[in-house]
Symmetry: C2
Subunit: 340 residues, 2 copies
């Protein structure tokens, strides 16, 4: 094990960080995982593969299973047991997206109409349940109770985080700590588990399990912070989700928490109205973007993201240098550079 | 093992069959299971135990975990590993109910307002997801990959059955075979798994596993047939669910399938209109009840239920006579006698 600590490239100096190195690194493994995914989303009930395929074939990056595979490479694991687990991770994620879109009443994801808009809420709920069940069938096949423990716990934490977020919606006084708690659960828990299970399957010491858990968790938090910042960047129309969705749903994300805390009386009054749902026009959203910009709330959300990104990178310091580590570092740089 | 085959008591001769013998049989085990259920529905997010408790403390019979425990007694198993699994079975069932009520837009269950009416669809979806995840955490703790395999498969089959039912709704030409396929999946699969896992935990030969699976599966089908008949029995107001719910939702259950098949042109026209949603008043429902009654569709649905009930009882023939077997036979008699 080497002890190289990579540093996050200061903003603006990095030249187009991307997921390409990670995709190249795991290409062969990912082909096997994709085959599992396509095979196991089938059902004799035609609506299931039709609806699931809409999302699964819908241009997602498959970042979470990619992390399982990259972690396996980092550990020099050359087996295939993590293929089933990586597919299970993607199914958990897909089930969560289907239910999220029902919960949020979303109509657009990755630039396409959401499944709940096309097939209705009932179908989205039930196909989500199917994929969730199927993910546990895959875990059972992978034959590791330790991995099952990690992923079943992550699933419960995700659901808890989603309920926590639901009860925090339209509460302008939400504290940053609770926000971090929510994104740690609803997003970062699955990133952490996705990485950690590679060490379990590869039968590595607990220290490496925990290091990979920390990498995934910090990357997940950074990823969600950037996602939440993007909703308040004015050219978000290119992001494939509706700009201003969080705003119109009254979701208290960090840009809003910071802009509210830093606002004058007029700004705070605006946020109170907006978060409670009384200001939801395009002009209101434009005003919100302006308040977020002028209070430097996006910059500071991004600074927080870089903080967690740096921690993710440092979690890898104990692992040997090489292509896998380089790809995992660049994935962090990619995650925190997305808004620029 | 004895070879006594019990016969279902002919309708009307049995004197008040009940679940009491089974409840008495498993009382001690059930106290332990209830403690697990109450302990594991807790969460630091207050809405979770609040919403879950509404349903879990809401007067349900806990029939499914009771079947796991009774099956354990039948096998002479005196351990406690099936307590965690029985709680997991109840959590799967509760999660399914929460999602079902969202899917059906139900407003009443067991005589109480449904969770989706009180807390909204998003909370019901997410707390269902939490209970589902928690059920898998319990299974992992029970430390049996074989039981996990049975229950994860049952969960996928349930979700498949629910989607199948969703795509069959408002289709007046639904065939009885597809209806049986649907209830076999959405209801009977969990009954079967609940019984079967007792044999797994007790480490019994596969023949006993399969016999218990058959008992649960046939009981589950009988149970659902009776449930579907009850919706068309005119004094259903005492049942704690809205009489006519299935009718108004356009659900093709066996009483409707039979009444439609046996109807004259006027009756068939009525059913086509009703199933497609164009006749949903109280007067329409009263007419539907009359058509079901005059075509003997309820009697024949109940006769089908007795057929499956008899098969459930025969599945027990290889097990030793005694209090456990008597209680499991009487549970079948109770299930098929409910409508009278």
């Amino acid at each position: 094990m080497s002890a190289t600590v990579h540093r996050l490239t200061p903003t603006g100096r990095v030249k187009d960080p991307s997921l390409d190195p990670m995709m190249t690194l795991v290409a062969e493994d990912m082909a096997a995982v994709n085959a599992v995914i396509v095979d196991r989303m089938q059902s004799r009930i035609p609506l299931i593969p039709e609806l699931a395929g809409h999302l699964i074939s819908g241009g997602g990056k498959r970042l979470r299973p990619m992390l399982t595979l990259a972690s396996g490479q980092l550990l020099g694991y050359h087996g295939t047991r993590h293929h089933l687990l990586a597919a299970a991770v993607e199914f958990i994620h897909t089930a969560t997206l289907l239910h999220d879109d029902v919960v949020d009443g979303s109509d657009l994801r990755r630039g396409k109409r959401t499944a709940n808009i096309i097939w209705g809420n009932p179908a989205s709920v039930l196909v989500g349940d199917f994929l969730f069940s199927r993910s546990f069938e895959l875990m059972v096949e992978a034959d590791s109770l330790a991995a099952l423990k990690i992923l079943s716990n992550a699933s419960a934490v995700i659901a808890e985080g989603e309920v926590n977020q639901l009860t925090a919606v339209r509460r302008v006084d939400l504290h940053e700590d609770r926000y971090l708690d929510i994104i740690g659960a609803k997003t970062a828990a699955l990133f952490a588990a996705a990485c950690r299970i590679a060490a379990v399957v590869a039968d590595r010491p607990q220290a490496e399990e925990l290091a990979l858990d920390a990498y995934g968790r910090n990357l997940g938090i950074a990823f969600q912070l950037v996602d939440d910042a993007i909703d308040y960047v004015s050219d978000a129309s290119t992001m494939g989700k509706d700009a201003g969705d969080d705003f119109r749903e009254g979701k208290m994300t960090l840009p809003v928490i910071l802009a509210y805390a830093r606002g004058d009386e007029a700004a705070r009054g605006f946020w109170r109205d907006a978060v409670s749902g009384r200001r939801a026009t395009d002009a209101d959203f434009a005003h919100a973007v302006e308040l977020v910009r002028s209070s430097r709330a996006v910059e500071d959300t991004m600074a927080r993201a870089r903080h967690y990104g740096q921690r993710a990178i440092e979690s890898l310091s104990g692992f040997a240098d090489g292509a896998a580590k380089d790809a995992m570092v660049e994935a962090v740089e990619f995650a925190v550079a997305r808004a620029y």
